[in-house]
């Protein structure tokens, strides 16, 4: 049994736990920081969370981004709105809320993720975990076929030709059930919007899905070319360590294996399980990228 399998089992077990709505109001009331004027807003947030956790993230995106002005830290490659960060692949980046964590194992924990995964990998880990909502999905175009089935328009991103499939309704989760509220989805019933950016010269497609159409539009509109001197950490998880190191090296990154049991020299045939910083993170060229190498523990049965 390897580390991925342990994670998969834990997530599968965890997925069987039914939870109540998050008690946001109760916590705010008990916390003593309430100014008394936010009850309506909090009620809305709680309702959104009850529908689906990531809806709240979408609401925050829609409002917070309009109110904040971009700042340009000296070590940032692109102007970053407060509370947001850039994620990218193959020289193209989009801005997503800081709270959207990158799921290191691509298995749906937590639900509101910015996920970077290679072409051909479906947005679930095959063990019943559901995801793909409110995520920016990066798919290498050479194997995904670009935007073959999406109505798109031509545009440019920082002068680089691109095709954009604007946000449109792609499907709905669950089926409204008068007797039970919603059937067919443990996440609730709501429409799902999708959109995409295809940059042929960079061989990358960015798919964005969210219950909020505006969220999809905002993320697509944020797309930028990553400036020189910076690079997006590629997803080399699942690769053999030696191949992963070569891949990082070709992008002027400095791979550092973190081997089972410690140390930085280990069997090159072992598989990379996790990256630090995570795939999709924008870093300076030459940056060190730690490759956490999975130990292969053989069941003794």
């Amino acid at each position: 049994m390897n580390e991925r399998e342990v994670t998969a089992l834990l997530e599968r077990r965890a997925a069987a736990v039914a939870t109540s709505d998050p008690p946001i109001d109760a916590i705010l009331d008990a916390g003593g920081r309430d100014s008394g004027g936010h009850r309506h807003r909090r009620a809305f947030l709680a309702a959104a969370a009850a529908l689906m956790l990531v809806v709240a993230a979408g609401v925050a995106w829609d409002s917070a981004r309009d109110e904040s002005s971009p700042s340009l830290p000296t070590d940032a490659p692109l102007p970053t709105h407060e509370g947001f960060r850039w994620v990218g692949m193959n020289g193209i980046a989009v801005e997503v809320p800081l709270s959207w964590a990158t799921d290191a194992v691509h298995c749906g924990t937590p639900l509101s993720d910015t996920v970077v995964f290679p072409a051909g990998v479906k947005a679930n880990c095959g063990l019943g975990a559901t995801k793909s909502f409110s995520v920016a999905r990066f798919v290498v175009a050479s194997t995904s076929g670009g935007l073959q089935n999406v109505t798109h328009r031509s545009t440019t991103i920082d002068g680089v030709p691109a095709r954009v499939g604007d946000a449109s309704r792609v499907f709905s989760t669950g089926t409204p059930d008068p007797g039970n509220g919603c059937s067919g989805s443990s996440l609730g019933c709501f429409p799902l919007y999708g959109g995409a950016i295809y940059v042929p010269s960079r061989d990358v497609v960015i798919w964005v899905e969210s219950p909020h159409k505006q969220t999809v539009t905002d993320i697509i509109d944020s797309a930028r070319v990553i400036p020189g001197g910076y690079v997006a950490v590629p997803d080399v998880t699942g690769m053999q360590q030696s191949l992963a190191a070569d891949t990082l090296g070709t992008l002027d990154l400095d791979p550092e294996p973190q081997c089972p049991g410690g140390g930085h020299v280990c069997d090159g045939s072992l598989v990379v399980w996790r990256l630090e910083p995570a795939a999709g993170t924008i870093v300076n060229t030459g940056s060190r990228v730690a490759m956490v190498v999975a130990s292969e523990i053989v069941a003794t049965q």
Partner: protein, 168 residues
């Protein structure tokens, strides 16, 4: 409008489910796990400035969860009445995935508290070895040792191996 309240509400809404589920993996019933998660989020709300400034917000919050769980267990132990049967570790499975639920619950229960918490923090909460060590208040080497020991025991569990084969 308090940005703190909204930021906290957004964060808590998104993490609520995973925190409760982590509590169940750590041995709580669903109800107790919700109590622990709520207590942890309340502490985080009261110290939100620190949480917001933390290098890794999730690692900080999971540290609070572990502390709340310890507090909860201490309170329960003081008022506990011994019984002949071991209480249920978690709510019954709602997905029909009974074999996996049972296998994982039994395997985690067999790890012992120290290794169990380390394994859940490392492989469910996705903390690094260093973050897990910090959350548990133990040296890095000790954390790595507990994680390795836990992995070994899970690997040797025939029911878990069967569960994996059933999903592959």
């Amino acid at each position: 409008v308090s940005g703190t309240d909204e930021e906290f509400a957004e964060y808590a809404s998104m993490r609520w489910m995973s925190l409760v589920r982590a509590g169940v993996l750590l041995g709580c019933s669903s109800a107790d796990a919700e109590d622990v998660a709520q207590a942890a989020l309340l502490r985080c709300y009261q110290a939100w400035d620190k949480v917001a400034a933390a290098r890794d917000r999730d690692a900080y919050v999971y540290t609070v969860v572990v502390n709340c769980l310890r507090d909860s267990l201490r309170r329960r132990w003081r008022g506990e009445t011994p019984t002949e049967s071991v209480p249920e570790l978690a709510e019954p499975d709602r997905t029909g995935d009974i074999d996996v639920v049972d296998a994982v619950d039994r395997a985690l229960a067999g790890l012992g508290d120290d290794a169990r918490v380390a394994i859940v923090l490392r492989y469910y909460a996705h903390l690094t070895d260093e973050q897990a060590a910090e959350a548990l208040g133990i040296p890095l080497g000790t954390a790595k040792s507990r994680i390795a020991r836990g992995l070994e025991r899970l690997s040797a569990d025939p029911a878990l191996s069967e569960a994996i084969r059933g999903t592959s």
